[in-house]
Subunit: 348 residues, 2 copies
């Protein structure tokens, strides 16, 4: 009764299931199955022992400086966030008011719609083409269009829109385009260099996936400094804690760990893709740490349920007008073998 | 050009100065000068070593369960936040839409006004009486009044409105009243038991001050469960990281540390109050970990500046229509001695 009508009416975003026990094969929320760089653990321990009584640097400056070196931008092009969820929230609140329009592709990350609902704004879903490319409709200037989200690589498909195409679309748009690069470290290229070429292009990243740090909550935005300045007004004063800033800076500093982890995930992804295709699934080439498997003529919810009974968690998704599929995170080879053995029993 | 007009027009909240060096006496942001409980450091190290690859529990359940025991409520009465800033943001976004009204007392925590501006809502400041009590105006139902904030103990005054008076006011209000108990562990009593008695009363707490964990970013809200359910829709899915949840749960588990820390701060506060009064300052009795000192006929900005030249940071505040003062955090005895020696030189 006390709440805003848009909040009252919302169902709320439901994050992927987090089963309470460790004795499961968890391939449902695109976490990285390997432990993070030991440098990260060491940096966190050092920060904890140094004392937590003081407020952290409000801008997460130690991370900004490290990330600037790695990314080849200046620190004032970087905004730190408490997970990239925090970044998406900040950007939405800064740009999108009640009744405004926020655009996203379909099917993609459901949270973007939730962010629009929280602002009492409208969300417009522009369908991907059947080959997961984007049509001109994605660049149309709409009435009160204020922000466009594009996850790239996309979820659930794992597909990638080439940077040249994104630049083309952004140049036609009347508003900023946030390229959500949560999975980009598993892709062949990225949009980072577009940020300097077009002020409307912003890139967000997370350390949850490729750095194996979902539990740390750290993400960041790269955008031109005059945009960053406005977003700073919207963020909570101390949105990133001292431990996360120290850990995240250490993570970006260990490039060798990232390269090795990426190589392992990509090898397992290739094997997973191949084996699932051999079972008659359609699997589009993925540039992320998951694959999207569909199967015409076979209802997939029962497959998902039977996997779950065997303590193998994947994500079942059913997109109206598009169809259903299983999104399978790339786990360890052992986890993927367990998954493959079970799904072969079910559909083989 | 791309931004919402209310964001464009905002100056943005400016948090207290964080000088870059350790060689200062820092009494300006009400941090706790003592190291946190060793249990906290140990819990953080354990959590870091256990791995951060998985998403944290979305509700911070380990903290909720521990806090529920300590506070004598059920876990579903508790919402975890990334600092109490996050709690204040969530509550404001859930209740206050564009053009709605948010009420706060004056002078108090400036951030509440910023939260209204971010929502493109209006803020109404109701002045405290000259003895820092609240008049009936604080309980008037206003057009589109959606949320009332009351910091208790208040900042900058450190004064406390008795729970019975708060209940009286809340019963007359048409909307929720959030009692911000950031400093309440330094007070004689608190409003926790009112939450069950009146659904409009909500209590927020932070671990930044009394638990010496400003760097960890952890706060929480206690409210009736049907309200908590709505706030959950608004928060980021994983707003509290695994390290903060583990550390915060450990902090609440070490009641002996809290009692000892509180006793030290209260003893130093009494000595600080007494000595500053002897210098001719007016100091209202504080129930927080800071004191508010005013001095008729003596301009205080120059005093603040001279202290700063000596690397002693306090907070200078000047409230239009109310006057100026120095807010001095209760540091260690050594820090307070350094402050007293210097201010005696300046005004003595």
């Amino acid at each position: 009764m006390y709440f805003r009508p848009n909040i009252d009416a919302m169902a709320g975003y439901v994050p992927g299931e987090q089963p309470g026990t460790d004795r499961v094969v968890k391939l449902n929320t695109n976490e990285n199955p390997y432990p993070c760089s030991p440098d990260v653990v060491e940096a966190i321990e050092r920060a904890a022992r140094a004392g937590l009584g003081r407020y952290p640097n409000p801008m997460g400056q130690p991370f900004r400086e490290r990330a600037a070196e790695v990314l080849g931008v200046e620190p004032d092009w970087i905004l730190c966030g408490n997970g990239s969820d925090d970044i998406l929230t900040i950007v939405t609140r800064a740009l999108v008011g009640e009744g405004d329009l926020l655009r996203l592709p379909y099917p993609s990350y459901i949270l973007y719609k939730t962010l629009a609902e929280l602002q009492n704004a409208r969300a417009e879903e522009v369908p991907f083409e059947s080959d997961w490319s984007l049509s001109e409709a994605f660049a149309t200037g709409g009435d009160r269009l204020r922000l466009v989200f594009l996850p790239n690589p996309n979820s659930p498909s794992g597909t990638f829109v080439p940077p040249a195409r994104i630049l083309e679309l952004a140049e036609r748009l009347p508003c900023p385009l946030l390229v959500d690069e949560a999975y980009v470290d598993f892709a062949e290229t990225n949009c980072m260099e577009l940020v300097a070429r077009c002020e409307r292009i912003m890139v967000s990243r997370t350390l949850s996936k490729s750095y194996s740090l979902a539990g740390l909550r750290f993400g960041y935005l790269v955008a031109q400094p005059h945009l960053i300045e406005q977003f700073v007004k919207v963020k909570d004063s101390y949105n990133c804690d001292s431990l996360a800033v120290a850990g995240a800076a250490a993570a970006l500093g260990d490039g060798a760990w990232l390269a090795e982890n990426r190589a392992k995930i990509l090898a397992t992804r290739a094997r997973l893709t191949d084996r699932v295709r051999k079972l008659g699934f359609k699997v589009v080439d993925s540039q992320a740490n998951f694959v999207w498997a569909t199967k015409e003529g076979t209802p997939l919810r029962p497959v998902f349920e039977r996997l779950k009974q065997q303590r193998i968690y994947v994500r079942y998704m059913n997109y109206a007008g598009w169809g259903e599929g299983l999104r399978i995170s790339v786990g360890t080879d052992e986890q993927i073998d367990a998954f493959l053995a079970e799904i072969e029993r079910i559909v083989g």
